[in-house]
Amino acid sequence: MGDAGDRSEYLEPVIITIDPRSALPPYEQIRSQVVALASSGGLRAGTRLPTVRTLAGHLGLAVNTVAHAYRALERDGVIETRGRHGTFVAARDSVHGQAQQAAAAYADQTRRLGLDPAEALRLVRTELGVQG
């Protein structure tokens, strides 16, 4: 809170919302919102996230669901676990990091759609204008 008074512009609220009626599974809702907040700067690098148990309690979810989301975020390099100190938003190069997050989101989406990995790669190559 120390720098709250210095911020002069409208900030994106750093909140997370879970909609049980959404087609997206709850873990994916958590993952995508954390990725979006980390990309937009709403969640700064080094910000400590709540424990899995706390967030699960606040959102009315199973502990395993939140743990699943945290594992996926850690795998994508969005967050990092520092032993007993807790889970933090990882410091990352903004351009590379955002590209990596977009790639992770694309990979998840294609998996959900049942696309073959080779076909998913072909679509990316086409979009990038790369042959072969």
Binding site: M1, G5, R7, S8, Y10, T17, I18, V34, T47, G57
Partner: protein
């Protein structure tokens, strides 16, 4: 003794029954929701009027119940303490009464917060960064209360150090010190738990109201504890404390009290809960006044 127990139980029971049975219709709920929205300067969507009115009614019932239970407990505590400790018993009795009331209020707020559930199929919103007490009250408010708590414990500690060989006086002094320390611990624990408890919100706007209610409850709890040092200082004065020592504690208390009251009523304190959601209040799009 049995009469005091019965009297305390009767007072507490009447207050609890009144708190539970007090009629609050939909119009009253809506009016209280609108009044609260104006007080905290937040826009109130029609779909939030009902849930907010319900929560405010529950909170009002809790306050009445906690006050009644505290009063009942106070009667019992006085009946237990006063005969054994004479004039030294009054500060213990009052501190005991306020400990029960504040602990009841603090932990009662947690119970109300837990009851404010949204049901299974509604969206649920929470802060992604766990709030702390300082997201709801200013550092000045919190530290003033801590200074006052230190004044209480120091005064009670002085009583123990100068109690002498008289067993009754020593027991009274130790009881006062224990009650003071317990009160401080309970206050710190309850405000920390209230700040971190589960929110009942489905989006940003309802989370803002949840935060505003939390800030209001925390401020009320802190505010209710501000006069406690007078009891401990009075007891210390009776125990024959040196003038410079008593004067220093009185000055510390009066200084902390003035700063607390000033901080509590400052616009910064009232808007504090917004920082967690929107940074500064100046550009907050949810406000009623712009």
């Amino acid at each position: 003794m049995p009469i005091a127990l019965l009297g305390g139980a009767a007072v507490a029971a009447v207050a609890v029954v009144l708190a539970v049975r007090w009629p609050v219709n939909d119009a009253k709920r809506a009016a209280s929701a609108l009044a609260f929205a104006q007080k905290v300067d937040l826009g109130l969507r029609p779909d939030l009027v009902g849930p907010l009115g319900d929560r405010l009614a529950r909170r009002a019932r809790l306050r009445l119940g906690a006050a009644g239970a505290g009063l009942g407990a106070g009667i019992v505590i006085m009946a237990l303490v006063l005969p054994g400790h004479g004039e030294h018993g009054w500060p213990i009795a009052f501190l005991g009464y306020w400990t029960v009331t504040l602990v009841g209020y603090g932990f009662g707020t947690l119970v109300v917060q837990a009851m404010d559930d949204l049901g299974g199929q509604r969206p649920r919103a929470a802060h992604l960064v766990t709030p702390t007490v300082l997201d709801f009250v200013t550092p000045a408010e919190l530290w003033c209360i801590r200074v006052m708590a230190l004044v209480v414990v120091t005064a009670a500690g002085f009583g123990v150090a100068t109690a002498g060989a008289d067993a009754g006086q020593r027991t009274a002094a130790v009881a006062l010190l224990a009650t003071s320390a317990l009160l401080w611990l309970a206050l710190e624990l309850s405000i920390m738990l209230v700040a971190r408890s589960r929110p009942a919100a489905s989006d940003v706007q309802s989370l803002a109201f949840d935060d505003a209610m939390r800030a209001d409850s925390l401020r009320a709890t802190l505010s209710a504890s501000t006069f406690l040092p007078t009891l401990a200082i009075g007891a210390m004065y009776d125990a024959g404390a040196p003038l410079w020592f008593a004067g220093a504690l009185v000055l510390a208390y009066v200084g902390a009290f003035i700063v607390f009251v000033w901080s509590e009523h400052s616009p910064v304190a009232k808007q504090r809960f917004r920082h967690r959601l929107w940074g500064t209040p100046v550009t907050d799009p949810s406000t009623l006044s712009r």
